[in-house]
Subunit: 315 residues, 2 copies
C-alpha cells in the first residue's frame, strides 16, 4: 500500500513516527528516545530524515508533526492557540518548515492565558482532535502522563484546562526522596492492587493531607515493616487520587471522564476511576494522536501528493 504521509508525535523525551496510507492506516512505525531535549542538541531535521530514510520513504513524502517540535526550544515555534480554542483551528495554524523538497508541518499547542491559571499544552490538542471523532463535541477529558492534562471541550473548542505534574512528581519522589528506601527496586504495580486503590481513595478523600500521606509510607516501613511492593503501589495510588481530587472539581463528580490513555497508565486510571465510582469512557491514546494527525493530513493534502514517486515502502 502506498504511503501518503508520515505522522510524528515529538515529545520532550520521546519520538514516534508512523508511515500512513491515504485512508489513515498505519503502514510502519518507529519509536526512539530522540525527544525535543535530544533533538535540540543533535538537530531535528537530521533525526526526522534518518527515520524517513530507514522507512525507505520517498523524498517528497509530506510530514505532519505534533508536540514539542513546535515549542520555543523546538524545531520551529508554532504559536499557541488561546482558549477558547477550536480544535480544528490547530490545523490552519500549523507552521511549515522551510524545506524545498518536503512539505513538513508542525501543529501548534494551546495556551490558557489566564494570569490566575496560566497553562499550556503541546501534543494533547492533537489527541483531543483525534478523540473528538469518537466522542461528542463536548466532553471532559483526562490525558494522564508526566504532566497530566484535564480538559473541558465544548462544541469542539477547548474552553479550559489544568495540568498536574503527576508523573514527574511520582518519579522524583519514588527515585530521589526518602521514600526511595521504602521501595527497593519495584517499578510497577497491578491496577487491582489493594494498596494502590487505598492510596487512590485516601488522597482523593484527603487531598490537603497529601504531603503527610506521602511520609506515612516511610513511617509505615519503619514501624510496620511494610513491603516495597505495597509501598510502591500506595505511592502510585496517592499520586493518582490526588490528581483526580484536584482536577475533577472543575467538572463535578457526576461528569463522565473521557480518558485518553494507553498501556499501564490506562489500566491504573481506569481502576482508580472505578474504585471512586466515577463514570468514564476510554479512548486509546495512540489511536487518538494518530486520528488527530490524520485529520490534519487530510486537510493539508486532500489528494495523493506524490506525483514523481510511487511512494512504495522499501522496508
Amino acid at each position: 500500500m502506498k504511503a501518503h504521509f508520515a505522522a510524528v508525535d515529538w515529545g520532550t523525551s520521546s519520538f514516534r513516527i508512523w508511515l500512513m496510507s491515504k485512508s489513515g492506516q498505519v503502514l510502519a512505525e518507529r519509536r526512539s528516545h530522540e525527544g525535543m531535549v535530544h533533538a535540540a542538541a543533535s538537530g531535528f531535521a537530521d533525526i526526522l530524515q534518518a527515520h524517513l530514510h530507514a522507512f525507505g520513504a520517498p523524498p517528497s513524502l509530506p510530514v505532519v508533526i505534533c508536540g514539542m517540535a513546535g515549542a520555543r526550544q523546538g524545531w520551529l515555534e508554532a504559536d499557541y492557540l488561546n482558549v477558547p480554542a477550536k480544535l480544528l483551528d490547530i490545523v490552519d495554524r500549523a507552521v511549515r518548515i522551510d524545506d524545498p523538497q518536503r512539505d513538513i508541518r508542525i501543529l501548534p499547542g494551546i495556551a490558557q492565558r489566564n494570569p490566575e491559571r496560566p497553562d499550556v499544552m503541546r501534543g494533547e490538542e492533537t489527541q483531543l482532535l483525534g478523540g473528538l471523532a469518537s466522542h461528542s463535541q463536548s466532553a471532559f477529558f483526562c490525558l494522564p502522563g508526566t504532566h497530566s492534562k484535564w480538559v473541558q471541550v465544548q462544541s469542539g473548542s477547548v474552553t479550559g484546562f489544568a495540568t498536574c505534574m503527576t508523573g514527574e512528581l511520582f518519579s522524583l519522589i519514588r527515585q530521589q526522596s526518602i521514600l526511595q528506601h521504602a521501595m527497593g527496586d519495584i517499578d510497577s504495580c497491578d491496577p487491582g492492587n489493594v494498596d494502590f486503590l487505598a492510596g487512590v481513595r485516601d488522597a482523593y478523600d484527603r487531598p490537603s493531607e497529601f504531603s503527610r500521606l506521602l511520609f506515612s509510607i516511610r513511617a509505615g516501613q519503619l514501624l510496620f515493616d511494610s513491603a516495597p511492593e505495597r509501598n510502591y503501589a500506595r505511592l502510585s495510588g496517592l499520586l493518582i487520587g490526588f490528581e483526580i481530587a484536584g482536577c475533577l472539581s472543575d467538572a463535578g463528580e457526576n461528569t463522565t471522564i473521557h480518558l485518553i490513555a494507553s498501556g499501564r497508565l490506562r489500566d491504573l486510571y481506569e481502576a482508580a476511576f472505578s474504585c471512586l465510582a466515577l463514570q468514564f469512557a476510554t479512548t486509546d491514546a495512540d489511536k487518538a494522536v494518530l486520528a488527530g494527525l490524520f485529520s490534519a493530513a487530510q486537510k493539508f493534502w486532500p489528494q495523493a501528493i506524490l506525483p514523481n514517486n510511487d511512494g512504495s515502502i522499501k522496508t
Copy 2:
C-alpha cells in the same frame, strides 16, 4: 567556666555540638555536615571524639545526643516511645553507648503506631521538651524543616503528630523538576515577597489543586515571562501554604501555633502565619534543642561529674 557536658544534635545530614556549663550556658559550638548518612560510613565514635578533641574537652566529659544517632541505621538504636508519649520520659529511655571512659547517652524518638497514620520523629522530641519550658504543658507545635512536624502536646505528652515532606519536596521540585527552568539560580526569597505570600494563600485556600498550582509556575514563565525571583518565591509559598492547610486541620484555625524554628525558615513561617491571620508564638529552634538537651543532662548528671579533671576549655 567549666564544661559540665557536651550536647549534640545529630541530624540526617548535619552535626552540631555544644560545650555546656552546669547552668546550661553555651561555652563553645561546632557545626559540620557529618550527619548520620556520613557517620554511618565513617564512624560515629570517631566523629564525636574528633570534635571533643578540637574543643580540648576532657576524656570524661559526658555527652547527651538527640536525633538520628539513635536510628536503626545510626550509632545505637534508641527505641521510639509510643504516643501518647510523656516528653520527660525520653530522658529515662535514653540508651547508653558502651564506653569505659565517657558517659554518652542517646535520646529516643517518638512513634505514632497508628496503622492509619504511622509517623516517626527523632530530634524534634528534644526541641519539644525544651520548648515546653517556655509554653504551657499543652500546645500545638509546628517544627518546619526537611520533614516538618506538627505536634499536639497535652499535659506534657505528645498525643499525636504529622510529618509533611515540605523541605524535601521543595528541593526536589526546585532543583530537578521542569520548574527548575523557571528559577535560574535563585536560592532564597524575602518573607515579605508578595509572590511568596500569594503562593501561601493560594495553596492554603486550594490545597487539592497543589499539583496544578505548581505547573502554573512553569506556564506563567512561558506565557508571561514571569521572573525567576517571582517563580522561586511563589514555589516556596505554595509549599508552605500547602503544609499549613494539611496540618492545621488537626487543631483548627483558632489554635495558637507554637512555632519552633530558626533563621530564614522562622521568618518565612511567621510571614505565612501572619498573612493567613493565624495566631502564633515563636521559640528559637536552637534554643529549644539546647534547652531539651540541658533538661536531659540535668537528670543524667545532677552534680559535677568530672572528679579527675577540671574540665577547663583549652580552645
